[in-house]
């Protein structure tokens, strides 16, 4: 067993990495509106960019320090005890090991770039300051997620990114669908968060109640739940409780303790398996995997830089990061690993199939993101953690580039997202087109592009995995993933050709060959200048704002004005160029060992995953197979490319239109089902949303009618009873002749005098009453 003694090296600046963006967020939240009004956009975005840039610098500094330190060292920064109760000890403490270092670098680097890009994309936004405040807040939450040293602190970031995602998807909240999309993202994420937190609780309880040593036969007993209770009320020493990652890892490195906890069962399945599955539910929520992926396509309602940063490069990869972070747990449960890999593979294929037929450029990218995340889960599911993180990184480059490219296109096309109304942009927007092509090549897996190295490695690791409990082992995963890769290559190049090749169709009227029936379905335009926003903020709007910005629905109007798309400003294209370069070259840190070249990335992460490396087994296929598979990957990548080129280049091929217009029930049915995303949203809406609404109305009715009804009934009965008593009294009083009547009359006269309204009389009465009570008490007591 390869044991690495974890060494913590104090790095007191670590807390600044998340803190700086938080300060930026606070600054813009408090001062941004005023600064923007007085000094213009720069007063907002300069601090908003500098704070995350500062985080990047400190991350880099820490990363370099880490690189210079011996293996197994982590940068550590303890701030204060957060939840120190009993045997629970959760600190506000940050930790950068080689894994979280990579993540922090990716997040701060890509994040800062996207801030720069946003200065161009959002320049006409009246609420510019709000956008940057949210973006900075997101950076804070994401960095807490990445650098938190324990489950609970990670959860702060985990839910925090969900909040920011909500805020940013609903950024243009005046349009109801966008606001609803944000709400959906948050609620679906919360379903995942529920799983995550239950997983943490279960792990905590499991560690706390599993005895470290086998119970001695006569001193202890194991109760029905497996908790050790010593005979005399004293608990046997447990494995130890901790919610800090490194401490849990350490506990699980001890072979005796590990066996103890692996042997425990809850609800008929292994405790560790259940913990991992619950945690993975959290991952499916955050990383948009089956069954909780439905929010991500809707999340495209947010501004495009948000889609690039949150819904492609960083937040959605949190689930992958979490599984890799917790490799010491997941590796212990082959069943859970199999579930992770299988769900990943199925999601990859499922999302890719939906991506084939989408016409909204952002929707294509959204499903492709879901699909790529599936690939990452295949990697971590087969125990190839470094590959998962590698693909996470390359994906962050090329997918951010694709999204930002789509943003550039959308802005150029006057906020048009339908690819059927684009076309020919290669000539008009050369930088965007070039970077988009490079990124398509990367995601499709063209040789020597970054995606090739990471995706090919995933396919190979899946094929060669010895851990998968499915019949056929990794082969079935490989088949699914390979088909998904073929689909990816096809629909990505489809999007490229539809957007950039041929003639610009935005100026033309409807009736082009690929215009399908479902045109109306794409109501959600990515439009920073909703009519409402304009009406409200017209007074503050930037004087340079595009005069056509208000043309929300009139596609034809663009044509009438004869405006052709123009290349985006420097702030955007330079970011595209940087990311395009990385999409091309970012993979060289992880060159295949097969080629006899150094794999820097794998070597870098090796110490992180060393403690579980010996439990990840391979099926033992040789180099020959690996070469063959690599060749096959290349065929797949080019296959998709050529198919898309034939069908969609220059919009000349009549086949797609003919296919869509086909009368065949099979073709029609398939197209309709896939185009409508297999009706999963509708099913969820009916079962969960409608279901809980009906339940809540029923319970509210029950509450006001039955529960409160009983209370009111008690009141009514009480009144009826006293009325009855009064009536009996009256009857008897009537019978008891005038004597009593007189008395009552006399009393009544006196009582009337009481209601004089004079405060003295009341006070007198109160005093007398009190005296009477005291007297009564006295009499009763003796």
């Amino acid at each position: 067993m390869h044991e690495v003694a974890p060494v913590l090296q104090d790095f007191p600046l670590l807390f600044l990495i998340p803190l700086l963006p938080l300060l930026g967020a606070v600054w813009n939240a408090v001062m941004g509106a005023r600064m923007q009004r007085r000094f213009g956009n720069a007063a907002v975005h300069v601090p908003a960019i500098l704070f995350p840039a500062g985080s990047f610098v400190i991350s880099l500094w820490s990363f370099i320090t880490l690189a210079g330190a011996p293996h197994g060292t982590s940068m550590y920064n303890y701030l204060w005890a957060w939840l120190p109760i009993g045997n629970l000890q959760a600190d506000v403490a940050f930790l950068m090991d080689r894994l979280s270092g990579v993540m922090a670098l990716v997040v701060t680097f890509v994040g800062t770039l996207i801030h720069v890009y946003s200065t161009g994309y959002m320049k006409d936004e009246p609420a510019y300051w709000r956008f940057f405040a949210y973006l900075n807040l997101f950076m804070f939450a994401m960095l807490v997620l990445v650098l938190g040293d324990n489950f609970l602190l990670m959860f702060v970031g985990w839910e925090g990114v969900g909040l920011c995602s909500y805020l940013l998807i609903s950024f243009w909240w005046r349009e109801r669908e966008k606001a609803v999309a944000g709400m959906k993202a948050f609620v679906v994420n919360r379903v995942g968060d529920l799983g995550f937190s239950l997983g943490v609780f279960l792990l905590f309880w499991g560690l706390m109640t599993t005895p470290a040593s086998p119970p001695a036969s006569n001193h202890g007993q194991v109760d029905a739940h497996g908790a050790a209770v010593a005979a005399h009320g004293e608990e046997a020493p447990a494995l130890g409780t901790s919610v800090a990652f490194r401490e849990v890892e350490q506990i699980l490195q001890d072979p005796v303790k590990r066996t103890r906890i692996v042997d425990r069962n809850v609800l008929g399945i292994g405790l560790i398996t259940l913990v991992c599955l619950l945690l993975f539910v959290g991952a499916t929520g955050k990383s948009a995997q089956i069954p909780l992926y439905t929010w991500l396509p809707d999340a495209m309602a947010g501004p495009t830089p948000v889609s690039a940063l949150i819904h492609a490069a960083t937040m959605v990869t949190a689930g992958v990061y979490m599984v890799a972070r917790l490799h010491f747990l997941f590796t212990l449960s082959p069943a859970a690993m199999t579930v992770v890999a299988t769900v990943g593979a199925l999601t990859a294929l499922f999302a890719a199939s939906i991506g084939l037929f989408q016409n909204d450029i952002k929707k294509v990218l959204a499903y492709s993101t879901v699909s790529q995340l599936g690939f990452m889960f295949v990697a971590v599911g087969v125990g190839a953690y470094w590959v998962g993180i590698f693909h996470l990184m390359t994906h962050a480059f090329f997918k951010a580039c694709l999204f930002l490219g789509s943003g550039s296109v959308i802005m150029g096309c006057h906020h048009e997202q339908d690819m059927r109304k684009m076309g020919g942009l290669k000539k008009l927007m050369p930088i965007t087109a070039a970077t988009y092509f490079v990124s398509c090549a990367a995601i499709a897996g063209f040789p020597f592009f970054s995606g090739f190295f990471s995706k090919d490695e995933i396919l190979w690791k899946a094929f060669n995995s010895g851990n998968i409990l499915l019949p056929g082992g990794g082969l079935i995963l490989w088949v699914i993933a390979a088909v998904a890769a073929l689909g990816t290559s096809f629909y990505m190049f489809r999007s490229y050709y539809m957007t950039f090749s041929g003639e610009y169709r935005g100026a033309a009227s409807h009736g082009h060959d690929v215009v399908a029936k479902a045109d109306g379905a794409h109501g959600a335009h990515d439009d920073p200048h909703s009519t409402d926003a304009h009406a409200a903020h017209g007074a503050h709007a930037d004087p340079h704002s595009d005069p056509h910005a208000a043309d929300v629905s009139g596609h034809d109007a663009h044509g009438g004005h004869g405006h052709l798309p123009v290349e985006s400003p420097w702030a955007m294209t330079s970011v595209l160029a940087v990311l395009g370069f990385l999409a091309l070259a970012g993979g060289y840190v992880g060159l295949p060992l097969l080629w006899g070249l150094p794999n820097v990335f794998e070597a870098w992460l090796e110490p992180v995953f060393a403690s579980t490396a010996d439990r990840v087994t391979s099926a033992g296929f040789g180099h020959g197979v690996e070469w063959a598979l690599m060749g096959f990957s290349i065929i797949v990548a080019f296959g998709g490319f050529f198919a898309a080129r034939v069908l969609y280049k220059d919009g000349r091929s009549p086949i797609p239109a003919r296919l869509i217009a086909s009368e065949s029930a099979l073709v029609q049915g398939t197209h309709r089902v896939i185009f409508n995303k297999y009706y999963v949203d509708e099913a969820y809406g009916f079962v969960f949303v409608k279901g809980s609404l009906v339940l809540s109305r029923a319970l509210a009715l029950w509450d006001s009618r039955v529960i409160d009804g009983l209370v009111n009934l008690a009141g009514t009965i009480g009144r009826a009873f006293s009325f009855l008593q009064g009536a009996i009294d009256r009857l008897f009083v009537d019978g008891l002749v005038e004597l009593v009547g007189n008395v009552i009359q006399a009393a009544g006269t006196r009582m009337r005098r009481v209601q004089t309204g004079r405060i003295q009389a009341y006070v007198q009465g109160m005093a007398l009453g009190a005296l009477a009570l005291v007297a009564l008490a006295y009499l009763l007591a003796w």
Partner: protein, 552 residues
């Protein structure tokens, strides 16, 4: 433990509102003499009321500053024999639990006092506002209420506790009945409004008090001899410290059964029900939505912020401290009722159309966490329960203040009737969003700490049922997110409803209450340590008194 008087600071804290109250009374009495105008009396009453609540809050903080968190012994004791013939003592003092509540009381009442002023912000002159109605009487009752609450938390004598408990009742009745909404018919033709809500609250809580009174008498007669403050020997005692000691010596376990039911069980249940009505626990919660809907804003603030806590506090102080075996006996039931509160409350919330009613039901849901935490009896769960009380005591006042903001302007709280308000009231939107996030337990804010500790602690409880209960009640986090975001969506987002063109954003009075509470919410979320320190020893002592094998 030394129980002799050692400080008057707590006494001053408890009776500071009484000083203010007396000052207003004196003002009224002197009014003819000084020829003061009605307006002058009103303004003076307000000033006195504000000063008194400010002083009480400051004294509460001063107590905390002087508090020794290293012990669970009572501190700031003031004790003398009050009614010798009944062995009743005036005995006040605080441990960590009491102190946390005393400090919270000061904060909540201060927020309530500021919200009761017509100052520092425009008020719609076309609609009568509660803050301009019978002003001196309002403040007299307000301060009487504060004294009652502070006394309840400080009392260490069962009878004195009962007296203060009842003192809370009457002012609340008038404050809801007179200053609340006028009587009206609801859509179903039922009579609703301030008077209805007030009498419902009064009778319901009084029913609980009767149960408590019976328990009090039973406990008294079952108690053993004790030494009074003046050194004399008494046959029985109301002194909580003595009662607790005697309870641990088993005196109540040995006490004769009542109606064939063990003494501990019947007394435990009577007390528990008395407190449960106040919490409020399902199915005794229906007075709460009515009271909240028709109470004026500051009274809702106080009701949600602190009055509900008297119920939970009572459970800790009496049910748990004197009858630990009873809690173990009833743990299942309390836990299950807590879960019903949590999940049922959340679902009922979702169907509400009145903003205040929604917040009221969310209180039902959130107080369920306290019950679940109490039942689970692990250090984390108990701490979480108390922490939830405090965080709810900060967050729910924010929510009610926010509901008041829009009601003062729009004179409606119908969630469906708004739309797109973020355009007109961005600051208000941001604060509401913040408060909703705090209430739905967003990590990093106060609500999360209590919730996660209760969940984690209950999950680690010895009895397996608690793991099931946590799994069920954790569903509420989804429902809670659903109803808050949906409310957000309906009121603030989407196209602007032009009916609300005349609404204006926050004024300084509202800022003065909301921002400090918001800051507290953040501090309590990221740095809960000071509160933990305050309550740790007290809870440890409570846990240590548990029957063997229960404390985790």
């Amino acid at each position: 433990m030394d129980l002799t008087t050692n400080s008057m600071l707590l006494t001053w804290t408890v009776f500071t509102p009484a000083i203010g109250l007396t000052a207003i009374l004196a003002l009224l009495a002197l009014r003819p003499l000084l020829r003061l105008s009605q307006q002058a009396v009103d303004e003076a009453s307000r000033a006195i009321g504000l000063m008194a609540s400010l002083a009480a809050a400051a004294l509460g903080i001063a107590l905390w500053a002087d508090f020794d968190s290293g012990t669970s012994n009572l501190q700031f004791i003031h004790r003398f024999v009050w009614m010798k013939s009944w062995n009743i003592e005036f005995f006040i003092g605080v441990d960590g639990l009491s102190l946390s509540m005393v400090v919270l009381t000061g904060v909540v009442f201060l927020a309530g006092a500021i919200a009761s002023l017509p100052w520092w912000g425009r008020l719609d002159d076309h609609h009568p506002h509660f803050s301009k109605k019978r002003v001196p009487a309002y403040w007299i009752l307000f301060l009487l209420l504060e004294m009652g609450v502070l006394g309840t938390f400080a009392s260490q004598d069962f009878f004195l506790f009962y007296v203060f408990w009842e003192v809370m009742l009457l002012p609340m009745y008038f404050l809801i009945g007179i200053w609340g909404a006028p009587t009206r018919k609801d859509p179903d033709g039922r009579t609703r409004g301030g008077p209805y809500a007030a009498i419902k609250f009064f009778l319901y809580t009084l029913a609980g008090s009767v149960l408590m009174l019976l328990a009090l008498i039973a406990v008294y007669y079952a108690s053993g001899p004790a030494t009074l403050a003046d050194g004399s020997q008494a046959q029985h005692t109301f002194n909580l410290v003595h009662l607790t000691r005697q309870a641990h010596d088993g005196i109540f376990v040995k006490a004769g059964a009542i109606l064939g039911i063990p003494f501990v069980h019947i007394v435990f249940v009577a007390m528990f029900l008395g407190f449960a009505i106040k919490v409020p626990m399902f199915p005794f919660h229906t007075w709460l939505p009515d009271a909240h809907v028709d109470a004026p804003t500051p009274i809702s603030v106080i009701l949600a912020g602190i009055l509900l806590k008297t119920g939970m506090y009572g459970m800790f102080r009496f049910n748990l401290q004197i009858f630990p075996t009873g809690v173990v006996w009833a743990a299942w039931a309390i836990g299950i009722l807590g879960v019903i509160n949590i999940v049922y409350g959340a679902f009922v919330c979702m169907a509400q159309k009145d903003l205040k009613k929604l917040i009221a039901y969310s209180s039902v849901s959130h107080m369920g966490f306290c019950l679940l935490g109490l039942a689970a009896l692990t250090p984390q769960a108990l701490t979480g329960s108390v922490y939830q009380m405090i965080s709810h005591g900060i967050v729910s006042p924010m929510l009610f203040l926010l509901a008041g903001v829009v009601y003062d302007r729009a004179h409606t709280r119908d969630i469906e009737g708004f739309g797109g308000l973020a355009q007109k009231m961005p600051e208000y939107t941001a604060l509401t969003g913040f408060a909703f996030m705090a209430s739905l337990g967003l990590p990093g804010l106060a609500g999360f700490v209590g919730e996660v500790l209760v969940f984690l602690g209950a999950f680690a409880a010895q009895d397996g049922i608690f793991r099931v209960l946590v799994a069920i009640s954790a569903l509420s986090v989804i429902v809670t997110a659903g109803y808050y975001l949906w409310t957000m969506q309906r009121i603030f987002l989407g196209p602007f409803n032009h009916r609300w063109e005349h609404l204006h954003d926050m004024n300084w009075r509202e800022r003065l209450t909301l921002y400090p509470l918001a800051v507290l919410t953040v501090i309590m979320g990221v740095w809960p340590l000071p509160v933990f320190d305050m309550i740790r020893e007290t809870l440890n002592t409570l846990l240590a008194s548990m029957p063997a094998g229960i404390a985790g």
